[in-house]
Symmetry: C2
Subunit: 198 residues, 2 copies
């Protein structure tokens, strides 16, 4: 017989399969399909492996960044994907997501529930270099997808350049070179007509 | 201007978006859709975070396991998903995947190309406790999905219990308790009629 601890771990692992049915606003490159939260989280993890070296003048624990990006959207299983440019939906986002964290992380054995909850809170509050890098990547990844799908999702949702700049404004503070990259992508998106200038 | 190094990193990050269009044989729980390689890799990473503690009498570097499961299927972008029970397709799998690794990891800056290549080879060759855990999880995860989709993919592909047992036979050697879990799931799948006994 499997132990109670393993049983709880497996119950959580099965429950979070639902993240594969949470669709984001952006599209997969070369596809008509929206990206799922699981795919997005995987992509962020690879980006963290490759880009953590660009963090400026701060130590970064890559294992912690990986854990953070891997779990950061699990709450959306209950709370749904809140579109980053939807101010109205953003109003009760924190309340919805906190309730989701209580239920979902609560499925785990106590110590692991605590670890996941702490990682998620640290990410949300951006209180460490790891959380600030995770947050910057969480904004850079959709920017790359928007750029390589000719701004389709921006156009469908009436998003203009000021909003995209505002959303990525903190990147340069954690990694100067990534901040420069963000600026270049936004400028080129405007130039190519993917993103409306404002 | 972004550096040549960052340019190569971003080129790789954009290229591997294609993994979101590589579909596996198993289904997402509660859905008619097949799982993508990106989703599968994300799921394995969370499993590694939670289940590494079950590895018996060996030290496991969790960061290495995470990196390994996150990148292990990238070669399938070029080589395609080889169904584990398809003996014929398995014959030239190594050749196809080696060629894919050359091209895909070759997009990265030299040191990172080397790191990704080594991780992938270590995983394929199962030469470390990290690789053996990653491999066991890579077999346990679809088993969980098959079980929670009432064996739909097993039935569609005529898979019987001897094949599933064979595929998961190494799990107990790396983690006794996970081996016990595998046995229980297979027995219960037979009992419930999800998996044909053989």
């Amino acid at each position: 017989m499997t132990t109670e601890r393993l049983k709880r771990q497996i119950e959580f692992i099965v429950e979070i399969d639902k993240i594969k049915q949470i669709y984001r606003k952006n599209f997969v490159i070369g596809s008509e399909r929206h990206e799922t939260d699981a795919e997005h989280s995987w992509h962020l993890a690879i980006m963290a492996m490759l880009l953590a070296e660009h963090v400026t003048s701060q130590q970064v624990d890559v294992l912690k960044v990986l854990k953070m990006v891997l779990i950061h959207d699990i709450v959306e299983i209950d709370a749904g994907d809140t579109y980053c440019f939807d101010k109205q939906a953003g109003q009760d986002k924190e309340e919805r997501e906190t309730k989701a964290a209580d239920r979902l992380f609560g499925l785990l054995p106590g110590d692991q529930a605590q670890e996941f909850r702490s990682l998620w809170e640290e990410f949300e509050q951006r209180v460490s270099s790891e959380a600030r890098l995770a947050d910057a990547l969480d904004r850079l990844q959709p920017l790359l997808l928007h750029y390589h799908t000719q701004g389709k999702s921006w156009q469908l949702n009436g998003i203009t350049s000021d909003k995209v700049k505002e959303r990525n404004k903190r990147t340069a503070a954690i990694a100067i070179e990534l901040g420069r990259l963000v600026d270049e992508i936004i400028q080129d998106s405007i130039k190519k007509g993917y993103l409306q200038n404002s």
